[in-house]
């Protein structure tokens, strides 16, 4: 019975759009060439189709619920002066445009597509090129940003804004986009209950994904490659991070994942490979790291002594130069059942768990932490010797930083 | 031919040579004798340029040998102990020396190589040779290039009597060709019939330089051993 009512309701809604809404074609070769003019002519719920072409029509404001759709990616060119699409109404869809050359400003955040204080906006299948900000949601709610390709080429951070920027928003769904060459790929500030899934974020100048005071969000199955740092989560609670890949975030002070002053997070099933530091954690608490793979990083995890209640369980550490780095001797975190490829212990009772604990912090990594120029001695004989001595007679490395139940074989992840 | 003038050399506290002046002429066969540590080997080495004197100078055919190396093509030297790179064969050592001293016109003198029977051992490596055989190689090398001066440091030490005899014959023959031969030795009996002059050294000082006839006349002894002994007991 319920099902039938639902079906009926959907049918009615579908018919009503078909019956009462009309489609307006605008653009080159049409009677109406001005896009803004077309929007002004349209009624709420109409579809405005823009034909193929190159449009230099300045700022376009969408102030009523409608679908703005491009045919064969019409180019909206801001001539480095204008913001292109300003969405100021709920229930708007922007679909299939090639939006380029927005203005740049240090006073206002000019974007390719900007959502102003509204809800239910869908930005889908667009190409954004060389804009100051790509897609900007300001106090948006229940918006979807999907399948967009966002690129910028500015080398200078101050000349480039963020690819997708959300501020004071709630329930934003960011899916399947690719973001390249911006300052931050995706930036969330005071954003809640949002999901960032399956995006490909590469070669951005600062962070691939950046959280600031953005609570109760999740991001899954994204790829962060070759950014200044992969993901930065700062001053944030309850973030869920699952099945992401953090790759090749390689450089001085580069991280796969930077966690600063965060709490109650879950980091699960992620893959960290080829980063200078896989994860850098500072001042954070109550984080569960489980079933992640750390492979070929400089430091798999750099955990500052200001962290507490971080639980590392069932992770694979393979081919990292240093497994764990830390700057103090106080350890309030737990390590359990991880696989460490540097573990040299034995398993006499054959329970697949090593009989002696593994200490993932090497003497040399402690030295470098205290005295960075000592990096000059990287891979020298003396550091190898120091590490071996420290294993026999621990003095500098934290006594309690150890995995009492290290696995003998890597987990299948 | 070789004139040393006021040559002095000090090794640490030890005065190895103290104001030594000697004159050696061609056609002479001079025995350089004296007790152990008297400076005879050092004198031979200063002539060869292996040891540079602290003061005094040495001339060879009228030319100062300091900073000179060319004059050594006229010298054949047989060291007291002959050691060679262990993995070289006798043939290679000889070839190398021929390469170093290649004088296009001069005929090499291979007599000793033949009489010592070295030509059947050409492929033997130096490390496999006995001390005596190595001495034979050293002797052959000294005579190989027909030098006008021969400096032989304890030449018969380690040689068996047959080889020793062959070497002596060779020395006499070369003396007959008008060459200057300097022999250091402490086995004085070996030197009878060979030498024409005696240089006797003690504590780095030249005690005397006399012809063998003068020595005989002075001491009334015909044998070198006895002549020297009578001087030393004086």
């Amino acid at each position: 019975m319920n099902k039938q009512i639902l079906l009926f309701f959907i049918l009615i809604t579908a018919c009503s759009t078909n019956i009462f809404s009309k489609t307006i074609r605008v653009g080159n070769g049409e009677r109406v060439t001005g896009i803004q003019q077309g929007i002004d002519m349209a009624a709420a719920g109409d579809t405005v189709l823009v034909t193929e072409g190159h449009y230099r029509q300045g700022n376009i404001i969408i102030n009523k619920p409608l679908i703005l759709k491009g045919i064969n990616f019409p180019v909206l060119d801001g001539e480095n002066k204008h913001e292109l699409l300003s969405v100021k109404s709920p229930f708007v869809t922007v679909d299939g445009f090639h939006i380029q050359n927005s203005g740049h400003s240090s006073m206002v955040d000019i974007a390719g597509i900007k959502i102003y204080n509204t809800h239910h906006v869908t930005v889908i299948n667009n190409i954004l090129e060389n804009n100051f900000f790509g897609i900007y949601a300001q106090q948006g709610r229940l918006c979807t940003i999907q399948n967009n390709k966002i690129t910028a080429s500015s080398d200078e951070t101050h000349l480039s804004g963020n690819g997708i920027h959300c501020w004071k928003s709630d329930s934003i769904y960011i899916r399947n986009n690719s973001v390249t060459g911006h300052r931050d790929g995706i930036y969330l500030e005071f954003v809640t209950h949002s999901e960032v899934d399956r995006n490909k974020v590469q070669k951005n100048n600062r962070y691939g994904l950046h959280f600031m005071f953005a609570h109760n969000n999740s991001y899954t199955e994204n790829i962060f490659r070759n950014n200044g740092a992969g993901v930065a989560v700062m001053y944030t609670r309850h973030v869920i991070m699952k099945k992401n890949r953090f790759e090749d975030n390689w450089g001085d002070a580069a991280y796969g994942l930077l966690l600063k002053e965060i709490s109650d997070a879950t980091i699960e099933g992620n893959h960290f490979e080829g980063n200078t530091s896989g994860i850098f954690v500072d001042g954070s608490s109550r984080i569960e790291m489980e079933k992640n793979i750390f492979k070929g990083n400089g430091w798999a995890i750099k955990m500052q002594a200001s962290c507490m209640d971080i639980a590392l369980e069932k992770n694979n550490f393979i081919g990292n130069t240093f497994d764990i780095g830390t700057n103090g001797s106080l350890v309030l975190n737990t390590f359990k059942n991880n696989y460490w490829d540097k573990y040299e212990g034995y398993d006499l009772d054959k329970d697949k768990i090593g009989d002696i604990p593994y200490r993932p912090v090497s003497m040399y990594s402690m030295i470098v932490e205290r005295n960075p120029p000592a990096m000059m001695l990287f891979r020298s004989f003396i550091t190898t010797l120091l590490d071996k001595t420290e294993k026999v007679l621990p003095s500098l490395t934290p006594e309690n930083l150890k995995d009492d139940y290290p696995l003998m074989k890597p987990l299948a992840l | 031919m070789i004139i040393t003038t006021n040559v002095s050399k000090q090794f640490g506290k030890l005065k190895a040579l103290d104001n030594v002046s000697v004159t050696c002429n061609k056609g002479e066969c001079i025995a350089l004798i004296g007790p152990n540590g008297s400076g005879k080997t050092t004198l031979a080495k200063t002539i060869l340029g292996m040891v540079v004197p602290d003061s005094g100078f040495i001339t060879f055919n009228g030319k100062n040998i300091l900073h000179n190396w060319d004059y050594r093509k006229d010298i054949g030297y047989m060291p007291q102990i002959g050691r060679y790179p262990e993995n070289m064969t006798i043939g290679q050592v000889l070839d190398m020396m021929r390469d170093i001293r290649h004088t296009k016109n001069a005929q090499t003198d291979e007599e000793l190589i033949e009489t010592f029977g070295l030509n059947t051992l050409m492929h033997k490596r130096m490390r496999t040779l006995s001390g005596g055989t190595r001495q034979k190689v050293s002797a052959s090398l000294a005579f190989l290039f027909n030098p006008s001066v021969l400096i032989l440091d304890e030449p018969t030490a380690g040689l068996d009597p047959v080889a020793s005899g062959i070497l002596k014959e060779k020395i006499i023959a070369e003396k007959g060709k008008g060459k200057l031969i300097l022999i250091t030795s402490h086995v004085l009996s070996e030197l009878d019939n060979l030498i024409t002059q005696v240089i006797y050294m003690q504590d780095g000082r030249l005690r005397f330089h006399k012809s063998i006839e003068a020595l005989h006349a002075d001491t009334g002894e015909t044998q070198l051993t006895k002549a020297i002994a009578s001087i030393m007991t004086k």
Binding site: G298, N371, R379 | Y77, P85, M88
Partner: protein
Amino acid sequence: MKKIIKYVIADILRNKIIIAYTVFLLAMSLSVFNLEDNASKGLLSLLNIILLIVPLVSIVFSTIYMYNSSEFIELLVSQPLKRRTIWLSLFSGLATALSLSFFIGAGIPILIYQPSSTGIMMLLTGLLLSVIFVAVAFLASVTTRDKAKGIGKVILLWLYFALLFDGMVLFLLFQFADYPLEKAMVGVSALNPIDLSRILILLQMDVSALMGYTGAIFRNFFGTQAGVIFAFLVLMTWFIIPLWLSLRKFNSKDL
């Protein structure tokens, strides 16, 4: 001069220790490249062999060879040859022979398995380290008459370059931890050919980013063409100066 070099090389290449050294290097490099799952990891494992074994063998072997050749050197000096010619010939012979062993033992496997810029850099520094430590051995053996003392001296020298120098650097870094020493480290690295070689090789690998700010300074300096040329000039100086000093000493030495 060429004549002596030729015979010296022929002699050394038949030496059992040199043959063993070549075979050892060959076995190590082949096993390292075959056992490691990727070749650049193999290079890292080779790094320590090159930085430790090559200097050790070069310096100890050369020293022993020089002492064993003292009578031979005397014989050569009694020949119509300049001392300079004798000394440089022996040096060239030893340096060539040891470089050749290194090239066969490590160079060829590197060229086969890892002909990258890292591999080439490793090959070049390995060759230079061979030559440098022959030169240091020459200086040590010409200044020390006693064989046992001389060998002891070169083992200490090796220990100094391979370990003690780095220990001192570490000590100084902690003593002067309050000062910005990153830039000074570039100069310090020039004081030890082993350190300089290690840094040059590491900078070719992508692990260089791991070295943080210090690494960045090294990369800015040695990453440029001028920097690499400078580094190689420094390494050249490291064999030219000991060789020149040893030659001066040998020229006036009493044998």
